[in-house]
């Protein structure tokens, strides 16, 4: 679904991503794992052309160079950003509306679907989004992204700041989404949770991919266990 070749990301003079290659096939869950500052977030932002980059990115068969972020989103590439970035000054329902801004015909149907998937959100539909707990905000962020009917859903550190039980819930939802036919690209510091649900994984270190393979195999790998799974 998306293939990335020779991606470099620059912040000013600093090179955060130093030439990586990876791909995500339709229907897969792929994880990018690595410690803080390894370049994972930068990679996701680069796929949406939100940051300065060099590289070949092919999404659904066409070259994404020179496309603006919002156009790529309209074509099915969606991101649940780091820190969730829900519109705290808007209500829950307004957040969902924002997700389906360009989709007036389908909005109500999509919204009701989200309320079925995430009943906790439905209860708070007219509350300001900023009043919700961390886990609820994460649900809202995901459902907001889903309102755009994405083909490839990217999630940037979905477990950040969440209690372990909630993390479990979130990752279960991610698996269900894949079952519904959405391809997933996941960036995570919580390597274990990510590897457990992924098909494939890439390990990012200092802007380079140092390892990749089938996720199940990597859980058992010694180097991975020592560095990212707490030995």
């Amino acid at each position: 679904m998306i293939s990335v070749k020779n991606l470099h990301v620059y912040y000013g003079l600093i090179e955060a991503v130093k030439g990586i290659n990876f791909e995500v096939k339709e229907g897969e869950i792929v994880s990018l794992i690595g410690s803080n500052g390894a370049g994972k977030s930068s990679t996701l932002k680069a796929l949406l052309n939100s940051v300065k980059k060099i590289g070949d990115i092919n999404f659904l068969g066409y070259d994404t160079r020179n496309h603006k972020t919002h156009t790529l989103v309209q074509h099915g590439l969606s991101l649940v950003p780091e820190g969730r970035k829900i519109f705290i000054n808007l209500t829950v329902e307004e957040n969902l509306r924002m997700g389906a801004f360009n989709n007036d015909e389908n909005y109500e149907h999509l919204r009701d679907t989200m309320y079925e998937l995430f009943p906790r959100i439905k209860d708070k539909r007219h509350q300001l989004a900023g009043t919700m707990s961390g886990g609820e905000q994460q649900m809202l962020a995901i459902s907001r992204a889903l309102m755009g009917e994405p083909k490839l859903l990217m999630l940037d550190e979905p477990s950040l700041g969440l209690a372990p039980k909630i993390v479990g819930e979130v990752f279960e939802i991610i698996m269900r989404l894949r079952d519904e036919g959405i391809t997933i690209l996941l960036v995570e510091q919580n390597a274990f949770a990510a590897l457990k649900i992924s098909d494939k994984a890439y390990v990012l270190e200092n802007g380079k991919i140092v390892m990749n393979g089938v996720a199940k195999d990597m859980i058992g790998d010694d180097t991975i266990r020592k560095k990212y799974l707490g030995g």
Binding site: H70, V73, P81, L90
Partner: protein, 294 residues
């Protein structure tokens, strides 16, 4: 006498409020003090003058010309001068805004001349009527009424329409709006258009009340209107109106009761600004940027 001053205060305050709304909305989405905004008010006044005195249009048509022309100019200034600098350091944007402001003032100076032009006020607006025991020109009473009406429209747009919701979302974070598949830049330009339209109305009100237009008329008014926006709570439309009314009232009432302070009329806005920065920098309606806006 007191009632008379109250109406005058409302009138002046409404004019400041209309211009302050534009400042506060642009600041809310871009964190930019659009120095050229006060000059848009001037352009509105001049377009009205041009429509009546040169093009021989009826008053209503001239006002329409002023509003549409100013809105287009405001949107154009965003497209041409501010949008290319979206990712530039803030100071570049501020400097450019000053440049646009200075350009508008001097361009109109060259084109129309610096001498104030008498604004041709239609007779029905100059009619003096008996209002609650006072004799006042119709225009003085219409100003607050129309302003309240426009304010209601703006709030309706912001809270009851899709695009208004997008504007509020922009105030939280521009990048996230793009993530929704929305071209944030287009919405930003829309904000400029709305603010400029309101400023144009303010310009027409000003032109009708004084009644003249001159190229520098937006300078001091703009400064005070921005101070009003800060005093009321920058980023909040309600705050802009509140701040505008406060400053308008103060100017009128203080001068009415202490005419010897007349020369200092223009200093009050500045004093209020310093006071609010000292005691409550987020403004009277104290919108905390992290929590909510507008």
């Amino acid at each position: 006498m007191f009632m008379q001053q109250m109406v005058n205060g409302f009138s002046l305050g409404s004019m400041y409020a209309l211009i302050a709304i534009g400042y506060t909305m642009v600041y809310g989405v871009l964190r930019l003090i659009n120095f050229a905004h006060g000059d848009i008010m001037m352009v509105g006044g001049f377009l009205g003058y041009f429509g009546i005195a040169v093009l021989d249009l009826p008053f209503g048509a001239a006002v329409l010309l002023a509003i549409v022309g100013s809105a287009l100019l405001g949107m154009a200034s965003d497209r041409v001068a501010y949008r290319p600098l979206r990712s530039a350091p803030k100071i570049s944007l501020l400097i450019t805004a000053i440049g646009v402001s200075f350009f508008l003032e001097n361009a109109f100076n060259v084109f129309f001349g610096g001498v104030p032009k008498a604004f041709p006020v239609p007779a029905y607006l100059e009619n003096v009527i008996d209002f609650m025991g006072l004799t006042m020109p119709v225009s003085a009473i219409l100003v607050p009424i129309i302003t309240a009406f426009l304010l209601a429209i703006i709030l309706w747009v912001l809270y009851k329409t899709k695009y208004g919701m997008a504007i509020r979302a922009l105030a939280f974070d521009v990048g996230t709006v793009n993530l929704m598949g929305i071209d944030a830049n287009r919405i930003i330009t829309l904000v400029f258009g709305m603010g400029s339209a309101l400023a144009a109305v303010g310009g027409i009100f000003w032109a009708v009340n004084y009644p003249s237009v001159e190229p520098m008329m937006g300078v001091l008014v703009g400064l005070k209107a921005f101070a009003a926006a800060v005093v009321g709570g920058i980023g909040s439309v309600g705050g802009a109106v509140l701040g505008g009314l406060i400053i308008g009232f103060t100017e009128v009432v203080v001068i009415a009761f202490f005419p010897e302070l007349g020369g200092y009329k223009d200093a009050f806005a500045f004093i209020f600004l310093i006071l609010i920065l000292l005691f409550k920098p987020t403004g009277i309606l104290g919108i905390d940027f992290e929590k909510s806006r507008f």
